[in-house]
């Protein structure tokens, strides 16, 4: 591959016009655990697999879905530590926005700031791109919104999206099942079914994580007990 000569430096374009390091970062995302998000008519749901490396790990200490503000939540696929840095930065940016404008940060603004940070790391010396793609779910004055942010710094608004290992199957499944007038409850069931599609082993409240936000504008991470209830409904 002629590109391989240009793949060691982040800040050098290859002859075909690609930044090979970013492509590699997307591979890191593609080999991460599956996560997905669905935008319903009255809310958004995001979910992810929570496969732990060993049965000895205390699963209550691991939380993949995080809050960025009271009405915006995020899930990632890829390298967990990279997402931690981004979440921490976003939280600070949201607070700074509020201090400056006395208005809770709109979802698009927060996504844009996040994307700007990720882009910075594709055009600086001595750093590497982030090895995560984020799914940002929020509810503000413009209604429920779902955004995906990639390591390159590009962001897209989705009605439903998936990332990680099982992305093509999951996206096909979502395309078939998605309807514009879906309610939040239906969206949660669809999310669970989509995760189930590519799940190895027995799915339960302990090895998936679901976060929802409704018209009350409070992002909430479901407890394992609540997830088990939803799983029972889906059976």
């Amino acid at each position: 591959m002629g590109d391989s000569q240009y793949s060691f430096s982040l800040t050098t374009f290859s002859p075909s016009g690609k930044l090979v390091q970013i492509e590699h970062a997307l591979m890191a995302v593609g080999s991460g655990q599956t996560s997905l998000g669905i935008k319903a008519a009255n809310g958004v749901v995001i979910a992810t697999e929570k496969k732990l490396p060993s049965v000895l790990v205390d699963e209550t200490s691991v939380q993949k879905i995080q809050l960025m503000t009271t009405n915006i939540g995020v899930v990632y696929s890829g390298m967990g530590p990279d997402s931690r840095v981004l979440v921490r930065k976003s939280r600070k940016q949201a607070q700074q926005y509020y201090r400056l404008y006395k208005e809770p940060i709109p979802v698009t603004q927060l996504v844009r700031e996040n994307a700007a940070v990720m882009q910075e790391f594709t055009q600086s010396g001595g750093v590497r791109p982030f090895g995560v793609s984020l799914l940002v779910a929020g509810y503000d004055d413009n209604g429920p919104q779902l955004y995906q942010v990639d390591p390159s710094g590009s962001y897209f608004s989705w009605k439903a999206s998936a990332m990680g290992k099982n992305v093509s199957n999951a996206k096909t499944f979502l395309e078939k099942r998605y309807t514009d007038d879906m309610e939040l409850e239906d969206a949660v069931h669809t999310a669970i079914l989509t995760l189930k599609e590519g799940f190895e082993g027995q799915i339960s409240g302990k090895n998936i994580e679901i976060g929802i936000i409704g018209a009350d504008r409070k992002f909430r991470i479901l407890t394992p007990a609540e997830i088990d209830d939803y799983l029972a409904e889906v059976e």
Binding site: R88, R91, K92, Q95, E120, F121
Partner: protein, 273 residues
């Protein structure tokens, strides 16, 4: 830059050069611009289920009342509120900043904020500014360790008390507290005592006035009673309004200047197609 990833601490401390300049100007007789002080009577007490905070609502600019109904009880966290006396801008800015920091801390820990955390953030900030941030605060709330009430002075010292008053009306309010406070007050008795103390400040101190704001914080619940008491209503407003007929005002001289026509409007022919 890579620095963007790490949150570096600020380089160096506060620069006091301008403070030296201000002191020198004062010695030479140049008056500094006056700023809005809150004058104020602010109080807090611990009752059987939690904490009650109270404040008056007058903001002064020297001898003038700048705001007749300002809010002196500031939100810090869902379970923590803070009354502020001193320079209004300073109390607002410092409580906003610490409230923001507490929110970030809550995201990181996943837990309810503690009053002692707010206290330490406030006192560190005020101490590092050596008293130039003129904010005297009464901080109160309820957390996992129970109800807490603290006072913070502009130089950064703090006290932990069962009942506290701050501001220009603090002596008037403290007189009421010292004679009537007991441990284990009920909610209604507590609110009544706080209102009495604030009213004492409102009526006996020039820097305090207008209405009484009260905030009751208990475990898992808070009530912000804005304008709980209005002991100073405006009583002489005429509902019919005022009408001044011609002849009320004496005319001293009259000068009429006719407007000169500067623009001539000429009706022309319609444009050729």
């Amino acid at each position: 830059m890579a620095r963007a990833a790490a949150d570096l601490p600020p380089k160096g401390g506060f620069s006091f050069d301008l403070c030296r300049r201000n002191d020198m100007l004062l010695k030479k007789g140049v008056q500094p611009p006056s700023f809005r002080k809150t004058g104020t009577t602010i109080v807090g007490l611990v009752f059987q289920d939690g904490v009650i905070l109270g404040a008056d609502t007058r903001a002064t600019e020297g001898p003038i009342v700048a705001d007749k109904n300002c809010e002196k009880i500031h939100y810090m966290a869902p379970n923590i509120y803070c009354c502020g006396a001193g320079t209004a801008a300073d109390t607002e800015a410092v409580t906003d900043m610490v409230s923001s920091q507490l929110q970030l801390h809550r995201y990181a820990t996943g837990r309810e904020s503690r009053i002692i955390t707010a206290l330490t953030l406030l006192k560190s900030h005020l101490f590092s500014h050596q008293g130039y941030v003129s904010a005297a605060l009464v901080l109160g709330g309820v957390d996992v360790t129970g109800p807490h009430l603290h006072t913070v002075y502009p130089h950064g010292s703090t006290d932990t008390l069962p009942f506290a008053t701050m501001g220009s009306g603090s002596l008037a309010a403290m007189a009421i507290f010292e004679s009537k406070y007991r441990e284990g007050l009920t909610r209604d008795d507590g609110i009544k005592l706080v209102c009495e103390a604030i009213c004492s400040g409102i009526f006996n101190d020039l820097g305090s006035g207008s209405n009484v704001d009260v905030c009751v914080i208990t475990k898992g619940h808070k009530e912000y009673l804005r304008n709980h008491l209005l002991p100073n209503p405006r009583t002489y407003i005429s509902s019919k309004g005022y009408s001044f007929v011609k002849g009320h005002t004496e005319v001293l001289s009259t000068k009429i200047t006719p407007l000169k026509e500067k623009v001539e409007v000429v009706e022309g022919d319609a444009m050729e197609e």
